[in-house]
Amino acid sequence: MTPLLEARGLNKSYGQLRANDDVSFSILPGEIVGIVGENGAGKSTLVKMLGGALAPDSGEILISGAAVGLHSPADAQKAGISLVHQHFNLIEDLSVEENLVLGRPELRHGVLSFKDLRPDFQAVADDLGTHIAFDARVSTLSVGGRQQVELIRALFHDPRLLILDEPTAVLPPNERDRLLRFIRLLKSRGTATILISHKLDDLYDCCDRAVVMRGGRVVGTSDLRADDRPGLIRLIVGAELPPPDTRHGTRGAPLVSVRDLVIHRGNGTVAVDHGTFDLHAGEIVGLCGVEGNGQTELLHALAGMWPIHAGDITYSIGEAPLRNADAAALRRAGVAHIPEDRLHYGIVTAFSLTLNWLLRKLGDTRFAVWGWLWRQAATKATAGAIKDNDVRASGPRARMGDLSGGNQQKFVIARELGDDAAVILAGHPTRGLDIRTVVAIRNRLVAERAKGVAILLLSADLSEVWDIADRIMVMARGRLRGPVPVGETTLAEIGHWMTTP
């Protein structure tokens, strides 16, 4: 059978970094192929080239046996390739329907009334068996809902090949299952899918085979036999995984005290309703809950980025306690913050790594004195940090947006934990990252706890919380339950708390 798509000897470099090194790859009609590999292995670069967003330095792409030039996403679309990015390209303030209409490039030159297209979009949605409110604003949709919009947009052109970049990274379990069902449904109709994922379960549940990339090269394929899972992990990592750090901390004095805290959202609704808890030195407190129940606002308020409506947040780090302080004062006092939404808060993609380093270092006299920046000192420190923390980048002058998501996250963690932090506020620190990075970040947090740091860990991954947290706290509709020691509760109880405020 002629492959639907074949890539032959693709090469792509960014400066010194060989993002793709002689990559060859093929997929048959109706096949589901997983692409797996660590952050910076070259998966995103390969996908961008297949989707027409990036031109290879050399090599060729064949569709049904004929070489094609994919110079733009529109070219790829014409060739029957649709791509759904990891980070959605939706306009928050527009409705679902308006976003879908914008995704049709033929409309750029002509004028078409919105009503004309509704039945077509509806047909795609029905076909998938999904219900979607076309008049809803995108900003009101859950992550899963947004992904549905992206999928309808991608499927509207009836592609022969669908490429999904980390589609399950941000989905809760039920929505993830629904997505995998879609992919199998598409396969039964002859649509091929490339699924990029860090979650091995996704591959085993859905894919026909997996292609493993490492260091910009294809290092092997797996037919995903259940008994060869350790072999697949070795192939991905290129070595054995480091063992998990199991050290415990000694619980010390409370460093953060939250009393009767009330926080409102921008629209005036209550996000946090009279929350009270303490965070002690030398412990990890896990914060769980279904997305949108006030955890984001709580974390932002703790980091000094969101106004408090009533109550108190007191940090007892230095000699004088800090009460309801702002983000800059907290940073200086030793509060590290790994924001859950990296792209909107944690980094500036258009800036170099050095400037991203400076973002949270302006209170540090090594880098800024009397309003002057010491860029050379910052460049040097950045170079050291990316080396010590295994951030894959061409150097401190690399543009942040050119790094893979995992390397961006490693950079943020390096920046935040580089100095001696007393308190760490971590928002989904391992979400969407590869196996080795996840282990490295968890071990890092455990090591910080052993040094006596107080850590609040917001995580959607209950098994992660179970593995490393000492106590666990649940938020539902703005109300806090706990914290209770992890040993004194069960997954069933936590699940119950998450759904009943």
Binding site: A327, V348, R399
Partner: protein
């Protein structure tokens, strides 16, 4: 087709269209496009024209620097005309006190101009940061307020003593920027502009303030995360942006008019936005963009005198140049953009 060839073709198309469109209008108006072009170029690089180009490039540079500084932070300062007037008025108001101060009088005179524009800019920043007002609307409205205000002042409280012309008293000689090339109008303001280019480039690259401004423009969420005081920062940035325009006002008075009068700004505010954009907000590129627009400002008069070409045609040519530069940025994407 290879990428390089595509690029070359694109550039060719852009230049062709940029030359064709204004030529069509010129032909319709009954003139010879080639003659218009040669007249403009010969004037701009000729014995009389070059100094006039620079004379107009001075305020355009200063205003362009201010617009670019705000725009880096995502703030649109459309009010340079108003801020220029505010600077000129405040400087002229205090000028009589500096009689006999010598060079110090000139420096204080210019500084007060910057303060005048800065105060107006700070007011806009305050409305934007604390009340969420659109700085675009506010600055446009304030332009009209300031135009009316200067019109009142030069017919009322600040009018010259003979009370005949609608203009103010003359500033003392100490506050005058001397002509540096005899026989032209080119004055020492050119040095002021160049110093400010260097200052702006340093602020942009080397200071915490410049860094914070670009973070605010590139990712406001990151500014909040980093703990910047976004309201205060907005106010300061608008104040500095206005101060550049206010300084331009004092320089125009000190170098050209030596008093207040109507129509001092000649539309520098809008042209300053184009200057900033064409220079891609890079301080070092702004004087060059300003000279390009200076050619049109200075050449418009020459075209009218020598070819009886109406002003609107010059604006059409100017607009084509703006389009052409914008289109060239599409035709030859920078290396950074290509890697994204």
């Amino acid at each position: 087709m290879s990428d390089g060839l595509t690029r070359l073709v694109r550039v060719g198309v852009v230049l062709f269209v940029a030359a064709l469109v204004p030529s069509l209008f010129v032909v319709i108006a009954g003139h010879n496009p080639w003659r218009v072009f040669t007249t403009l170029v010969l004037y701009a690089f000729g014995p009389q024209g070059w100094s006039e180009v620079l004379v107009h490039a001075i305020p355009l540079t200063l205003i362009g620097l201010g617009v670019a500084f705000a725009l880096r932070a995502g703030l649109f300062n459309i009010g340079s005309d108003g801020q220029l007037i505010a600077g000129a008025v405040l400087a002229v108001f205090f000028a009589p006190y500096f009689e006999g101060w010598g060079i110090a009088g000139l420096i204080v005179f210019l500084a007060i101009g910057a303060i005048g524009g800065g105060l107006l800019g700070a007011f806009v920043g305050y409305l934007r940061a604390w009340f969420g007002a659109s700085e675009i609307i506010v600055t446009i409205m304030l332009n009209y307020v300031m135009i009316q205000m200067i019109s009142y002042l030069i017919r009322g409280p600040m009018q010259e003593t003979s009370r005949f012309w609608p203009q103010s008293y003359l500033i003392p000689d100490d506050c005058v920027l001397p002509v540096i090339v005899p026989g032209t109008r080119l004055h020492a303001g050119v040095f002021v502009a160049l110093v400010m280019v260097i200052v702006a480039a340093i602020v942009q690259r080397r200071t915490v303030l410049g860094f914070q401004a670009s973070v605010l423009g590139a990712n406001p969420g990151a500014a909040a995360y980093a703990g910047f005081h976004v309201k205060r920062l907005t106010l300061v940035i608008m104040a500095i942006s206005g101060a550049f325009a206010g300084l331009a006002g004092a320089v125009e008075v000190g170098g050209i008019y030596q008093r207040l009068q109507d129509n001092m700004s000649e539309g520098f505010g809008l042209a300053g936005i184009a200057v900033a954009l064409i220079a891609r907000l890079e301080a070092a590129a702004i004087p060059f963009a300003a000279c390009l627009f200076g050619i049109f400002f200075a050449g418009a008069g020459a075209l009218q005198r020598e070819l009886a070409l109406p002003f609107p045609l010059v604006w059409i040519i100017e607009a084509s140049v703006i389009f052409a530069v914008a289109a060239l940025q599409w035709a030859v994407p920078s290396r950074k953009a290509a890697a994204a």
